[in-house]
């Protein structure tokens, strides 16, 4: 426990240092923040456009999809805030700067993640929270203790699932560089898919999302449960309770991929 606490302090110091380094560029920060907020909003605009033409999407009303979007969006934004720095892993490996993390007495993943905390990413969380607030105002959810608890569980598990996929995907760079685009299609692409009810996709996409890259557990099953919607295409709303378990498994798998990746690190340059 003391060990964990010490790590947390170290994280705060490392991340704090990156914020101080960033603080030298205030205007850039303000512009980035605004850009992130608008970019996030445009995703939701796409959903609004769809509902302008259709009353329902796969049996989901606009506020329901907004709820799904908000839940997934918050999970994703938390993940992005926490480990978004992994996007630069490919570059660190190509340039050999990853070396530095391996000669220090801390976990390498921890150090990559802590190497920078970009507060501009909070913009995305803010935007998702706004959409969620809109959804809650327009839905009449029969709140029960289990459903309230599920909101927290779903956001936590969702962030953990996104993190796992992100970590494992980035770790592919240890074997072969220049895969960032493929990785992005799983992480950012995954975040896009989780914003829609998965029953609107084809059978194979649904199976992939439910069982291979477990994106369906991020927001879809929990939302079914909270909204009291019965019609799941694969499985049923009770699967919502499997989310924390799936999240744990995803993280374990990701950690194994990461460890194996570090053993394959080639450290280019002299």
């Amino acid at each position: 426990m003391a060990e964990r606490l010490a790590q947390l302090t170290t994280y705060r110091r490392l991340a704090g240092a990156s914020i101080r380094a960033r603080a030298q560029y205030r205007l850039t920060f303000a512009l980035d923040f605004a850009a992130q907020f608008v970019a996030g909003l445009s995703d939701f605009l796409a959903i609004l456009v769809i509902f302008h033409h259709l009353p329902q999407l796969g049996g989901w009303s606009l506020p329901e999809v907004a709820f799904l979007y908000g839940m997934a969006g918050i999970s994703f934004a938390l993940t992005d805030l926490w480990i978004g720095q992994l996007d630069t892993l490919g570059q660190m490996i190509r340039l050999g700067t990853f070396d530095v993390f391996l000669v220090r007495p801390l976990g390498s993943l921890f150090q990559v993640v802590a190497s920078e905390l970009q507060l501009k990413r909070l913009a995305k969380a803010g935007q998702a929270a706004a959409v969620l607030a809109y959804a809650l105002a327009n839905l009449h959810i029969a709140w029960s203790p289990a459903r309230i608890l599920m909101v927290a569980v779903a956001i936590g598990s969702g962030a953990a699932i996104f993190s796992g996929v992100w970590i494992a995907g980035s770790a592919i760079s240890f074997w072969t560089t220049d895969v960032q685009e493929i990785v992005n299609s799983f992480t950012y692409g995954g975040s896009f898919l989780t914003s829609y009810p998965i029953n609107i996709f084809g059978a194979w996409t649904r199976r992939l999302l439910a069982f291979v890259v477990p994106m369906a557990f991020v927001a879809y099953y929990p939302s079914l449960f909270i909204l009291g919607k019965p019609d799941a295409v694969i499985g049923q709303p009770a699967l919502a309770f499997a989310s924390p378990l799936i999240a744990g498994l995803t993280l374990l798998a990701a950690a194994a991929v990461w460890r194996s990746g570090v053993r394959h690190y080639r450290s280019t340059g002299s």
Partner: protein, 319 residues
């Protein structure tokens, strides 16, 4: 302190062969290297570019996992017990910074204090001491990106030593430094080794680093150990050999000198080889200027490539 036994590292390299086909090739960067460094020793690890120096260092520091063979540093297997090892060793890369680019030097040190969990009192003492030895005072509050190479290297050395490591690995610590900075780094390393008994393994491209610092050197080429022994023995054979390059006022036949011989001429420029145990550059320059009008001069030290070539041809004692 450092033990390597039949250490090997093989990389798979893919090369484009034709439009889609890729050719797979195995490259052995380190090919059965064995050596041991005792506590308090200071050993030079040298070789030409691509000889496998850096790859060896990376295996010793836990960055790379060896393909085969045994390694032990400060009693630990590096890659397997990486984080534990990190507390016992210090590392300086000449071409890679371990500091925070946008932060003042002082902040980098402060962060390292937390990463290594150095007790505050001990940290203050060490920083004061290292700061004085390396004269960090004038640029402690300057962001690292604004430091000169020499200043940065002094910062890197401090960063590597704050946690009082038993073993220090230096990969090309003097690369790109001017003479004054080089001398400062060398003096510091000599003192560190003498006063504190820190074990040092040093790779360098500059033979004079080794001559001034390391009583023992290991030469590698093509991933294999070529020589492991005293620096003096190598120097005695030819290491003391230097070349005085003189530019004379006019072209003329090779100069005749008592000690030292002209090995090459090109117009008014002549190359004079001499041994520093037989004569000094100053005596030689005086002798030259008695015979001809001297315009300019420089002294060339033997290169590592030259040393390796000579070890091959048997002019220097083999391992």
């Amino acid at each position: 302190m450092i033990e390597a036994d039949d250490l090997r590292k093989t990389f798979t390299v893919y090369r484009r062969a034709g439009r889609l086909r890729r050719e797979r090739r195995l490259v052995t960067a380190v090919d059965g290297v064995s050596f041991a460094v005792g506590p308090g020793e200071m050993v030079g690890y040298i070789g030409p570019n691509g000889a496998g120096k850096s790859t060896t260092i990376k295996m010793l520091t836990g960055i790379l996992v060896p393909s085969s063979g045994k390694v032990s540093v400060a009693g630990l297997a590096p890659a397997r017990r990486r984080t534990e090892l990190a507390r016992r060793i210090g590392v300086v890369f000449g071409n890679r910074s371990l500091l925070w680019w946008d932060l003042p030097l002082r902040d980098s040190f402060e962060l390292l204090r937390h990463i290594y969990r150095v007790p505050a009192a001990q940290y203050r003492g060490r920083l004061a001491e290292l700061g004085e030895l390396l004269d960090l005072g004038p640029f402690m509050d300057t962001p690292v990106r604004q430091l000169s190479l020499g200043q940065r290297m002094r910062g890197e050395l401090t960063a590597a030593l704050l946690h009082a490591p038993k073993v220090l690995f230096l990969d090309e610590p003097t690369v790109g430094l001017d003479i004054v900075s080089k001398a400062r780094v060398r003096d510091f390393l000599a003192e560190l080794n003498r006063e504190r008994g820190v074990t040092v393994l040093l790779t360098t491209h500059d033979l004079s680093d080794i001559e001034r610092l390391c009583p023992r050197m290991v030469i590698i080429d093509h991933g294999k150990v070529l020589y492991d022994g005293g620096t003096v023995e190598i120097a005695a054979r030819f290491g003391g050999e230097r070349t005085l390059v003189v530019d004379l006022a006019e072209s003329r036949p090779p100069l005749r000198l008592a000690r030292g011989s002209v090995v090459r001429t090109d117009g008014p420029r002549q190359w004079i080889k001499f041994r520093s145990d037989e004569t000094t550059a100053a005596t030689l320059i005086a002798a030259v200027s008695e015979q001809a009008q001297l315009v300019d001069l420089s002294i060339e030290e033997p290169s590592i490539e030259e040393v390796v070539r000579r070890v091959y041809t048997g002019e220097a004692v083999p391992a």
